[in-house]
Subunit: 114 residues, 2 copies
């Protein structure tokens, strides 16, 4: 039997393995919701190529898409990232000073959020 | 120009997107160093197939291999995982209670390490 968590991690890591997809997630992280055309505009790629990347992100559960009239808006859905981070966290003892650095990073993120 | 950090994240996430490769890393995390044949033994796959997975992990910098006589021993090299975790940490504000959960996970890992 295939473990569903495994399949989910496969999809998450695979979706994150592309710089265009990571850039799309970064922009959604900053902007909240963006339409497909807003997302595609700065990317030197055809619209169908960008839409394929959005399909991969959507299949991995990393974005949600919502159609309003003729506009499809996309939002970040970070649940799978949390799973990926938990998997990676099991290995943090193998890098030095990780706890301090990660804590600092998380604190910085929290401060930016306020 | 291609950003080397991007290429490195591509390789890391791509290497982690396979359950066999994650299982190999998990065993190295528990055992420290293991020979290629020790690593391959429990895996229902041919030795060359396992060796291909080890090549991917090595290319991503996630393991190091060292030859002593006729034995190749493998070790976890967690640096790229740290980079991946730092990338993911930028998104932690998008999932709820993450800081508490992650802090708990890291504390648990630290306790197990002692």
């Amino acid at each position: 039997m295939v473990n569903p968590d495994r399949v989910s991690l496969d999809r998450t890591f695979s979706a994150l393995a592309d710089p265009t997809r990571r850039a799309l997630l970064a922009r959604l992280g900053e902007a909240g919701a963006l339409s497909v055309s807003e997302l595609a505009r700065p990317i030197p790629m055809s619209l169908p190529a960008v839409m394929k990347h959005l399909d991969v992100l959507s299949d991995a559960g990393l974005i949600t898409r919502r159609k309003t009239g003729r506009t499809v808006s996309c939002r970040l859905s970070a649940g799978p990232m949390e799973e990926a981070m938990e998997w990676l966290a099991h290995y943090q003892r193998f890098w030095s000073g990780s706890l301090d650095r990660l804590a600092a990073l998380l604190e910085q993120e929290e401060a930016e959020q306020r």
